[in-house]
């Protein structure tokens, strides 16, 4: 059992054990401590992995390969390279924060159980190297998040939960068909039925099939990221789910989409990625601008942050498909940064909601007078989101833009506009909520020590990653430059018809 197996097995076992703990109501807190304990151990493992990670190699580390379903050539095949490692770290941190943020729940068993299962699924998705295993974990993330959104949500949570599940499930329908088709084409060509990513990378695909497969993969990840036209589920879901769930949904699961694009679209279809780069980058930039504009028009803080994360994910997608080492490293780093400050902003929104029962900007105003500490943390996180240099948002965004400028100049020029739009809607929202006169006579309690403790790690990370991101970058760079090289050197695909696959060319 290597580190990665423990990484996934631990929370999964935790999720199985928790429902059995039928404790009387008063020491329900024990279950929450149990959840916190497991997520802390996860964090320990993740940090251990990061420390033990060999720096100057882009190959997969901590690899484990065990037979699972012989009939289809499926193995329990896990491995982590720079990108997966960084995202595993992010997942571990955010889950620990989410576990701490859980309160006010009478029956912790279901809550902690689903959270741990979700953690196992996310860890699995980031480290799976077997396409079937990835698909299983990718789908598995839906079940707990559905329950987390619907059972403990508020208002129209049921409907939003179903919309989230069906939308993502439909997206992954294409992914499944794509995976299986690729596997069978590979089987025809090499007679070796396997789902392992390194093996499938050598399949020679004719042009039109490769495009279809690329789009099938991209469809699922586009819904998950979300990319521009497929984002309508995210405002409803982020608004109606409880805060700890949203921290995970926006912070970790949004990265699944982007990670999938890098790991599968770029590595499996390098030539097609080059051809369709213009499409994905246009969608990315459209997402940046559209997300920002709609966010400016939004009256509800929760929905505004959902659209702003659509805009930020637009940057990440842009970076992925710019095919330059700077841009790809920037995107990966930005994934971590986005996770951190989105988690922080949603925790803050949760605290506002708890005090005032609404997130409508019209009903909130002049809060800074009553809660200066709260306002200070809020503005710091907002400045991080805007990409103020010295905070974590800037480094990733700068790398993405400079990388995109080198390869696709005009997309970068338009994307830079996003930098300004970001400032507009975020500062406008901050002003409507914190500046001006207090609209509501009910006081606004300042940060309680418990809440401050919850936000401290995230705020510290926002500042630390802004000033010194090198530890992460040192681990990301080798992998990203290898992927960029892989995409650049892939031979262009001939447009021979599908039949040629069936006859199976010589390997």
């Amino acid at each position: 059992m290597t580190l990665l197996d423990w990484l996934i097995a631990l929370p999964a076992l935790g999720a199985l054990v928790v429902p059995m703990m039928a404790l009387p109501p008063e020491n329900q807190r024990l279950i929450r401590y149990f959840g916190i304990a497991i997520s802390l151990v996860e964090l320990g493992i993740a940090i251990g992995m990061a420390v033990a990670f060999k720096l100057h190699t882009s190959s997969y580390q901590f690899v484990t390969k065990v037979h699972w379903i012989g009939a289809f050539g499926i193995d329990w095949y896990l491995g982590a390279d720079g990108i997966s490692l960084v995202l595993v770290l992010l997942t571990a941190v955010l889950f620990t924060i989410a576990m701490f943020a859980m309160k006010g729940v009478k029956d912790y068993r279901a809550y902690v159980g689903w959270m741990l299962l979700l953690e196992a699924a996310c860890m699995g998705s980031f480290t799976a190297l077997d396409l079937f295993l990835f698909f299983v974990f990718f789908e598995l993330t839906l079940v707990p998040s559905y329950f987390l959104i619907s059972d403990f949500g508020l208002g129209a949570s049921g409907r939003a939960a179903i919309k989230f599940f069906v939308y993502t499930f439909a997206g992954s329908a294409f992914l499944l068909v794509g995976i299986v088709s690729l596997v069978f084409i590979h089987d025809h060509q090499t007679g070796h039925l396997t789902f392992s990513l390194p093996a499938l990378m050598h399949t020679r695909l004719p042009k039109d099939t490769a495009i279809l497969l690329f789009l099938a993969f991209a469809a699922a990840f586009a819904v998950k990221t979300p990319i521009f036209p497929f984002h309508t589920w995210s405002p409803d879901t982020y608004r109606s789910a409880p805060i700890p769930a949203v921290v995970i949904l926006a912070g970790v699961m949004a990265k699944l989409g982007a990670y999938g694009l890098i790991r599968f679209n770029l590595e499996l279809f390098p030539a097609t990625s080059r051809e369709l780069a213009w499409l994905m980058m246009t969608l990315g930039v459209a997402g940046i601008l559209y997300g920002a504009i709609v966010a400016a028009g939004e009256r509800d803080l929760g929905r505004m942050v959902a659209y702003s994360s659509l805009s930020h994910m637009g940057f990440i997608v842009l970076g992925i498909f710019a095919f330059s080492a700077e841009a790809l490293s920037g995107s990966t780093l930005q994934m971590v940064n986005h996770g951190i400050y989105t988690a922080a902003i949603f925790l803050l929104l949760g605290m506002i909601y708890e005090r005032r029962g609404t997130l409508d900007m019209k009903k909130l105003g002049g809060l800074q007078k009553k809660a200066p500490m709260f306002a200070a943390v809020f503005i710091l996180v907002v400045m991080g989101m805007i990409g103020l240099p010295g905070l974590n948002g800037f480094v990733g965004e700068f790398l993405i833009l400079i990388g995109t400028f080198i390869t696709h100049r005009w997309w970068a020029v338009v994307a830079v506009l996003g930098v300004v739009l970001g400032a507009i809607y975020l500062l406008w929202a901050y002003q409507r909520v914190f500046h001006g006169e207090l609209k509501d006579d009910r006081g606004f309690r300042d940060l309680a020590p418990r809440e401050a403790l919850l936000l401290l790690p995230l705020v510290a990370l926002i500042v630390f990653l802004g000033v010194y991101p090198m530890p992460l970058l040192a681990r990301i760079n080798p992998t990203t430059s290898a992927i960029v090289h892989h995409v650049a050197t892939a031979p262009a695909l001939g447009s021979s018809t599908v039949s040629s696959i069936v006859t199976g060319g010589t390997k």
Binding site: P19, A22, P25, W68, I69, G70, A71, F72, K103, G104, V105, K106, D107, F132, V136, F137, E139, L140, L142, V143, Y146, F147, S150, D151, F152, G153, L154, G155, G158, A161, I162, F165, V166, F169, A170, A173, F174, L176, V177, V180, S181, V183, F184, L212, P242, I243, G350, Y353, E354, G357, V498, V502
Partner: protein, 520 residues
């Protein structure tokens, strides 16, 4: 011993290898024993005894089929009873699946039906007889024998559907099922007659060899016959457009009967369909594959879409069963050995799930006191608080039907999709998965209703942090109120355990099903 006795008789009997038809004999024998016993010791006294015998018979049949499978592995397949019965891996595996379905139903069914329709042995007998019919259909290598098996199964089901005597809905369902069943059997039979006319034999093997050696000038009659046979099968597996009976019958019939019927009818019909298409009409592939594709796509899409607006759970599950039929048809249309294996896997996984699901629904009906016919979503609302255990188990089974990962449902859907893609039918796979996505919507609405907090009692407070959830009744799994609950819970736990186990370690079932090759 029996063989030698018979051989003295003047009549010349065909060489009967009792080994091959042992499964039918075990079940049918048990049915007779139960009837005889009830006649001698009075109908009402020992209902448990009948269930015991039924259970024993089911287990015996399963063990025998497994033994048959081992023999086939060792000595290869063989024909029995003058070519009427095929004793190959396929029939053995279907035998095992029938046994599994029968065991679960024996555990779950009788408890509820007894509270509704008296203590008599009738229910157990009918179960055993219908199972015999199913096995006959699966093993049959002759169209007429398939018809025979079909009728044994169907007539037993007609009666079981109408079992709740004092309830109008049940009688109406039985009638509808009977009339439409009778009609479709007639159509099926006419098809058999036409095929007989075109090829000169009703034996699948002879038809296959005839068609491979002769080229028919106008194969109109043959194709008409084949089409009508497909209609007969289409009705039985409730594929769209021949599905119209199933929503009403699923709702009207007693819940555990519905579960059994959904499973057994599909097992038998698909087994026979697979054998007919593979053995007899493997050369007419380009004619019947488009029909099967049409049936599959219609069932997939309309099965999912029509369920969206359903408020009554059993009707909703009827449409979901149509959707599942569509998925299994994918395996059939692949017409490869992989396709057969995947269809069998789907059949196995599906029947275990569906019997468990309907078992749980009958438990809920008893719990909510709505024993007559319909059980709507509002009745189920907030079950998560009152009966957390029941709600969680039903949620697992429903999610398995939706295809959630780490359940056999997921592996089933995945394997059938691989079967279709292996024959380059990419677009069908995409439509199938989209239909699955639509289906997820109404599965989730059911799960949501289970766990939603009762609006009236707790009031869905507008707090982002969940309003303190009212504690459910004690988390005790077993309501020890009535002894008859114990086997039901065992049955349900077995089906849930099997669903999750084969989801995580599917290779066991995949290898078993892999042996189910149609030899002839």
């Amino acid at each position: 011993m029996f063989g030698t006795l018979v051989s003295q008789l003047p009549i010349r009997l065909p060489a009967i290898s009792y080994q091959a038809i042992a499964p039918e004999m075990i079940l049918f024998g048990a049915a007779l024993v139960v009837l005889a016993l009830s006649a001698t010791i009075g109908r009402r006294e020992h209902p448990e005894l009948y269930r015991g015998i039924g259970l024993l018979a089911a287990l015996g049949e399963g063990a025998w089929s497994a033994n048959l499978l081992r023999l086939v592995d060792k000595h290869g397949a063989s024909l029995a009873i003058a070519g009427a019965i095929a004793n190959d891996g396929f029939s053995a595996v279907v035998g095992i699946i029938v046994a599994a379905a029968l065991v679960l139903t024996m555990l779950i069914g009788p408890g509820f039906v007894r509270s509704v329709a008296g203590q008599g042995p009738e229910f157990v007998t009918l179960l055993l007889i219908s199972a015999t019919g199913a096995i006959v259909m699966a093993q049959a290598d002759d169209l007429i024998v398939i018809f025979l098996g079909l009728e044994i199964l169907s007539i037993a089901l007609y009666i079981m559907v109408g079992f709740r005597l004092r309830d109008g809905l049940s009688r109406e369902a039985a009638f509808k099922y009977f009339i439409l069943g009778g009609f479709s059997s007639a159509v099926f039979l006419y098809g058999v007659a036409l095929v007989y006319g075109a090829t000169g034999s009703t034996n699948l093997l002879k038809i296959g060899s005839f068609l491979s050696t002769h080229v028919l000038i106008n194969n109109g009659v043959l194709l008409f016959g084949l089409a009508l046979i497909l209609v007969g099968f289409g009705f039985k597996i409730s594929a769209v457009p021949f599905h119209v009976w199933s929503p009403d019958v699923y709702q009207g019939a007693p819940t555990s009967v519905t579960g059994y019927m959904a499973a057994m009818a599909k097992i038998a019909a698909f087994a026979a369909l697979l054998r007919v298409l593979t053995v007899a009409f493997h050369l007419q592939l380009q004619y019947w594959r488009p029909i099967i594709i049409a049936l599959a796509l219609l069932s997939l899409v309309f099965g999912a879409v029509f369920a969206l607006r359903q408020r009554e759970i059993k009707r909703m599950l009827a449409y979901s069963s149509i959707n599942h039929a569509g998925f299994i048809l994918l395996g059939v249309l692949a017409a490869t050995s992989g396709g057969i294996r995947d269809s069998l896997f789907y059949l196995g996984a599906y029947s275990v799930m569906v019997i468990g699901t309907f078992g749980l629904i009958s438990m809920i009906q008893v719990d909510t006191g709505k024993t007559e016919g319909s059980l709507s979503l509002t009745d189920v609302r907030g079950l998560g608080q009152r009966r957390p255990a029941m709600a969680i188990l039903l949620a697992i089974l429903v999610l398995a039907q939706a295809g959630a990962p780490f359940t056999s449902g997921f592996i089933a859907k995945f394997s059938v999709i691989t079967a279709v893609i292996a024959v380059n039918e990419y677009w069908i796979a995409v439509v199938a998965m989209i239909a699955a996505a639509i289906a997820v919507a109404f599965y989730l609405r059911l799960v949501l209703a289970l766990f939603a907090r009762d609006e009236n009692k707790v009031g869905a407070g507008d707090a982002l942090y969940p309003v303190p959830v009212r504690g459910g009744s004690d988390a005790g799994f077993l309501q020890p109120s009535r002894a008859s609950q114990v086997p039901v819970w065992i049955g349900i736990w077995l089906s849930v355990a099997a669903t999750v186990f084969f989801g995580v370690f599917p290779s066991l079932l995949l290898n078993l099903v892999g042996k189910g090759k149609i030899f002839f």
